[in-house]
């Protein structure tokens, strides 16, 4: 199958790295092959069980650490004045950001009719849902008394108390809950036709019944497709501004505060670009091993990865521009506190973190200008790990240096995460990958119906059928 992933010789005027109708899926012949090969990926393997066991083990570490923190109090997490936001808020922003690439690929690229999205959008969309599920845990962990979380939700209560609607934390609640609801609904709606395929091909009666219920009696009729296509389009159109708004709202958590390094109008676009960049990094981290272990190289082709790598390069440059603009704003503002803060960020106390961020997010992705490297899956995978690390440190650099270096020198302090922070961080990866691994063995990782839509249907005229 690996040979099938190699680009086909192209005709005049066609570039090998630009997906077109002629070079999308050269090794996929007909609809039945799609059904067969995608359904084959649902067979559990030893490697999958081992990966799931590892994810659950990491999750258990996270759960036990959280229980310890609830018992001991938030002090166990390494918070100390003035740094009262730490790993949990960093990781919250990190996971929300990861989710954004999924919606970009599934909704925005759908509206733009970008062909390369077809093979990777299902995985990306599932990644979004699980990333938002993971992100949503962190504000709850961070508040220390998680059982009080519901106070943020506006509901009639005997205390006659309502949330403060001018607080960015309440904006977050609305934005994240809307984002989770819409992205999971979008994922499910897109899955309905594929669930019908699974229902029709399944031989195990229990699984068949489950798929029958989940597919809601979908029959692939012209009426169903007509309404489905319209609904899918409108959902994509609604999800597109949503994806831009959610990380803008997350950025307001910082930008609304009068804190050096935070109070800047550049934050919403800077956060959105960073979110998409980090999400594409995670897409590579997930998709590259997946296409290899599931032997899906002829669906998730090098052309698709190449196109996604270009998007990664573009968003890296936007993020890089935002980093440099922040320095320029501080320099030109004439504000001593702001200037000192940025000097401290790159040459002072937090230089190590800032340089990890700059190298991983600005310098290493420059390699993607090389087509050879964009089509090298090993390099893409290694780079994606660096991007994940770099983007986590970007949030570290935003959160910690600002709080540790505010206006008055007597306020300045430091921050060192404890084993509790690291345990819960590890647990979040366990939680995310547990859901993801369960997903990939129960449901198709590539969209069967959409792949078929690209394939040329069988025609009587091509098979020497007689006229009538």
């Amino acid at each position: 199958m690996a040979s099938a992933a190699a680009p086909r010789p192209t005709g005049p005027g066609e570039r090998p790295n630009v997906p077109s109708a002629n070079n999308r899926f050269p090794a996929v012949r007909d609809y039945e092959q799609v059904d067969r090969e995608v359904i084959e990926t649902l067979q559990p393997s030893f490697g999958w069980f081992a990966a799931l066991a590892t994810a659950i083990f990491c999750l258990l570490i996270g759960i036990s650490t959280w229980i310890y923190q609830i018992h001991e109090g938030l002090g166990a997490a390494g918070y100390q004045p003035p740094v009262m936001w730490g790993v949990y808020i960093i990781t919250f922003v990190f996971w929300v950001g990861i989710g954004h690439a999924g919606t970009l690929i599934s909704a925005i690229l759908y509206l733009f009719r970008a062909g390369f999205r077809t093979s990777i959008y299902r995985v990306s969309e599932a990644m979004t849902v699980f990333a938002v599920m993971t992100a949503g845990l962190f504000p709850i962990i961070h508040i220390g008394r998680p059982w009080k979380f519901f106070w943020l939700i506006p509901y009639p209560n005997w205390r006659l108390l309502w949330p403060q609607f001018k607080s960015p934390l309440v904006w977050d609640v609305f934005a994240i809950l809307t984002y989770f609801t819409i992205s999971s609904t979008f994922l499910y709606v897109g899955l309905i036709p594929d669930l019908a395929v699974l229902r029709d091909k399944e031989t195990n009666p229990i699984r068949k019944r489950i798929f029958a219920m989940l597919s809601l009696g979908w029959r692939n009729s012209d009426r169903e497709w007509r309404h489905f296509m319209r609904a899918y389009l409108f959902m994509a159109a609604l999800a597109t501004p949503l994806v831009l708004s959610v990380h803008s709202v997350v950025s307001f958590d910082f930008a609304m505060a009068l804190t050096p390094g935070w109070h800047a109008t550049i934050f919403p676009p800077y956060f959105v670009a960073g979110a998409i960049f980090s999400g594409i990094g995670m897409v590579f981290t997930i998709v590259i091993p997946l296409r290899r272990f599931f032997r899906l190289q002829h669906y998730i082709t090098l052309n698709d990865l190449d196109a996604a790598a270009k998007l990664c390069l573009f968003t890296s440059m936007v993020v890089g521009l935002a980093y440099l603009t922040e320095f320029q704003i501080a320099w030109m503002s004439g504000n001593k506190v702001e200037q000192d803060y940025f000097w401290n960020r790159v040459f002072g106390q937090w230089a190590w973190a800032a340089w990890i961020m700059l190298i991983c997010n600005m310098v290493l992705p420059i390699s993607l200008f090389s087509q050879r490297l964009r089509r090298n899956t090993t390099w893409l995978f290694i780079l994606s790990i660096f991007i994940n690390i770099g983007m986590w440190f970007e949030r570290f650099v935003i959160v910690v240096p600002s709080l540790s270096h505010e206006f008055e020198p007597w306020q300045w302090g430091s921050y060192r995460p404890t084993w509790v922070d690291y345990g819960i961080l590890l647990g979040s990866f366990g939680w995310f990958f547990m859901w993801f691994l369960l997903f990939i063995k129960q449901l198709p990782v590539v969209a069967i119906a959409e792949i078929k839509e690209i394939l040329a249907p069988r025609m009587r005229s091509q098979h020497g059928g007689g006229s009538h």
Binding site: Y31, K166, V197, D200, N220, H227, F228, L238, S245, R460
Partner: protein, 166 residues
């Protein structure tokens, strides 16, 4: 409901068959395709999907509710800070927008379900599991007298299998 169902392996054969069925004005024709095919849209002459109306109404209700809940709660429990307005439309636009997207998208899904008539508890007559795989299906509602004639027409157009169902 009685009719004839045919399974085609080739798209153009199915399109031509539907074209002739529509021309001869038999009963309702339903086409089953593994993936949406625009070739059938023109032939069937289906009207525009009304799902967009659900989206519009849902979105408008959502934006109204989003602004209303924030303004009403602020007035009900006033938190006066620095003499500023108790209800401020600028931050409340976030609630207006988020709830518009939420209710608009959920209404879209409800619109799709209602118009597609799903969830369906039992598979109706005329469906074959092959239609989600690689075959194109054509279901025609007929009277018992027409069934033979319609079956012949479908076979002539290259149907792989034709059967009457009720």
């Amino acid at each position: 409901m009685q009719g004839v169902v045919a399974a085609f392996h080739e798209l153009d054969s199915a399109v031509h068959a539907v074209e002739e069925l529509k021309k001869r004005k038999y009963g309702d024709v339903t086409v089953y395709t593994p993936t949406p095919r625009h070739e059938f849209e023109d032939v069937l002459g289906a009207p525009e999907s009304p799902v967009r109306k659900f989206t519009l109404v849902g979105g408008l209700c959502g934006v109204t509710f989003g602004y209303w809940i924030a303004i009403w709660c602020s007035k009900y429990w006033p938190l006066v800070v620095g003499g500023k307005a108790v209800a401020s439309w600028v931050p409340y636009t976030i609630f207006g927008f988020e709830v518009m997207v939420l209710i608009g998208a959920l209404s879209t899904v409800i619109g799709m379900f209602a118009n597609s008539r799903i969830p369906r508890l039992t598979m109706t007559v005329g469906y074959d599991p092959r239609f989600s795989g690689g075959h194109f299906g054509v279901w025609v509602e007929t009277t018992p007298e027409q069934a033979e004639e319609v079956s012949a027409l479908l076979r002539r157009h290259g149907a792989e299998e034709v059967r009457s169902e009720r």
